[in-house]
């Protein structure tokens, strides 16, 4: 009897090797792909919010160009327009822009003009509309006409459609990119799992020919590879969450930039990643192991 081995103290070894040199590569590949998929998800969510913000801001505002009537000062015309518009239902706030603001707006086209005040620059009134029931351009025009104010209402409709189209494209592209990366990650998990399992063909053969049920063998591999993929998914998702948090902190309250306003809640998008990676790996392991077993019959 062996001096080093006491059968009375023997405990059965796991059917599968506890660690394989391939496992490290599998975990690395899956973790990197999970990181990329999670980062894409965070960016897509933030980008979607930004797109909503752009169109929302435009839709909630209108600009009125006020032309003074003969004998009326521009300031008086602007004040009359602001007063009229403030009383319209669906208007939240009205603000007559200072002349300097209007001059600043035309400055890029006129350049530095010495007597800019002498130019007939129209006065502008910025109207913030009620979010729940915004007033329409026609309602604003009717109110101005009724009050005898000569003004042109610009409800940004021309720009709004362009911005909305741009937002739709941004959102669509982001979703497609996310789906592509997520699919690539899932395929990589499946291929890595298949490669790992092919290396264990001997174990499958021995268990199979000594009478283990196909389902039992398959479950061994499902658990093994699902666990490895879950760990990889956890690493990838954790890395993406950390990177997202850094971007959020770098950008202050607005996120990295106004164009990519990452919110803390967006980081939760990575939570399902480890489960999804584990699920894909389990399915791949199941199909591959049952395929291997079928080849042996």
């Amino acid at each position: 009897m062996s001096e080093m081995f006491d059968p009375a103290r023997w405990r059965p070894a796991p059917f599968l090797p506890e660690s394989e040199t391939r496992d490290g590569a599998l975990v690395f590949v899956v973790a990197v792909l999970c990181f990329l998929a999670c980062m894409t998800a965070i960016v897509v969510i933030a980008g979607d919010r930004a797109a909503h913000g752009w169109s929302g801001q435009l839709a909630e505002q209108a600009t009125v160009i006020v032309r003074p009537r003969p004998g009326e000062t521009p300031d008086a015309a602007a004040a009359a327009a602001a007063e009229t518009l403030a009383g319209v239902q669906g208007v939240a706030e009205v603000r007559a822009l200072e002349p300097e603001k209007a001059y600043e707006l035309v400055k890029p086209w006129l350049g530095d003009v010495a007597d800019v005040e002498d130019l007939p620059v129209p006065r502008l009134v910025a109207v913030t509309l009620d979010k729940k029931r915004p007033a329409t351009a026609n309602e604003l025009k009717t109110a101005l006409k009724g009050a005898g104010v000569d003004g042109i209402v610009d409800d940004h409709a021309l720009w709004l459609e362009d911005v909305r189209r741009a937002a739709r494209i941004t959102r669509g592209m982001g979703t497609v990119i996310f789906l592509l990366i997520a699919s690539a990650a899932a395929a990589a998990v499946a291929f890595a799992t298949r490669a790992g399992l092919a290396a264990q063909r001997d174990v499958v053969e021995v268990l199979h020919f000594t009478g283990a049920e196909d389902r039992y063998i398959s479950q061994l591999f499902q658990v093994r590879f699902a666990r490895a993929a879950a760990v990889a998914g956890l690493i990838g998702a954790g890395g993406a969450m950390l990177a997202g948090a850094i971007l959020r902190l770098m950008g202050g309250s607005q996120g990295l930039t106004p164009a990519l306003p990452i919110a803390w809640g967006d980081l939760l998008a990575v939570v399902p990643c480890p489960l999804m990676a584990a699920g894909v790996a389990a399915l791949a392991a199941r199909w591959t192991s049952l395929g291997l077993i079928r080849e042996m019959q």
């Binding site: 009897m1 062996s2 059968p7 053969e205 021995v206 020919f209 283990a212 042996m296």
Partner: protein
């Protein structure tokens, strides 16, 4: 003592193995086995002989359900394996012990774990078999190597471990593919005696071998496979026990 396997009547439900007009080919290659019909009675002991490439391993694979015939019927323990439910096949395999030609030992398991594997798969508790496994390993000369892992075992030790794994459940049918190819003469005789002992306990034995000396000295019949055809060679000389 064995019955004549070639002459046994078709579909005898008592037969452990029954082949009826079985042929086998790999892919589109030529037939390796052609229209084989034979049966192995319970408790019989046969060698399977023939030149290299004659199809001995393929014949064993057909019996332990590692491959399927291209035509013909195979019955195992009275069951038509072509119509056996997928769930019934593991149960059939658990009644068969196999010494594989390439041994198929699991490198990540100790010799003890390898030998105990079929008992674990059969669902037995470790306390019910740990003593038997230790005794068997000692008997095949691996008493001091139970803790060792296959990569550290010598060729003969690996072979003995594979044999221990095949016989540990006392299978009703034992198939061995060149079980003594890597052991010396004394160990070959010792292993042969283990098979004889199992046979005495009721197991049906079929051993593929090139060891003509062992076949001749054993006094056991041999199924000789050549050119895809099977013939029975009667025992020569006294039975070696």
């Amino acid at each position: 003592m064995s019955r004549n396997p070639i002459a046994s009547p078709a579909n005898d439900p008592a037969e452990v193995v029954r082949f009826d007009d079985v042929s086998m080919r790999y892919g589109r290659g030529p037939e390796i086995l052609r229209d084989l019909s034979f049966g192995l009675a319970p408790g019989s002991f046969h060698f399977l002989t023939g030149p290299s490439g004659a199809g001995k391993s393929s014949l064993l694979k057909l019996i332990y359900l590692a491959t399927r015939p291209s035509k013909g019927l195979i019955h195992l323990f009275g069951q038509d394996i072509a119509h056996a439910e997928a769930t019934a096949r593991p149960e059939l395999r658990r009644r068969i012990g196999v010494v594989f030609q390439d041994l198929l030992l699991l490198d990540h398991m100790s010799a003890f774990d390898n030998a105990a594997l079929p008992l674990r798969i059969a669902g037995l508790r470790p306390d019910d078999y740990r003593g038997d496994v230790a005794e068997l390993l000692t008997w095949v000369g691996l008493g001091t190597r139970m803790h060792a892992f296959p990569p550290t075992l010598a060729g003969g030790e690996k072979q003995r471990l594979a044999i221990a794994r095949a016989v540990v459940t006392r299978p009703q049918l034992l198939l061995a593919d060149e079980p003594t190819s890597n052991v010396d003469h004394d160990m070959a005789l010792r292993i042969y005696r283990l098979f004889v002992e199992l046979n005495r306990l009721g197991a049906t034995i079929l051993i593929a071998t090139h060891d003509q000396d062992l076949v001749a000295r054993s006094g056991r019949p041999a199924l000789h496979l050549e050119g895809g055809k099977l013939s029975l060679r009667a025992p020569q000389g006294p039975t070696l026990t």
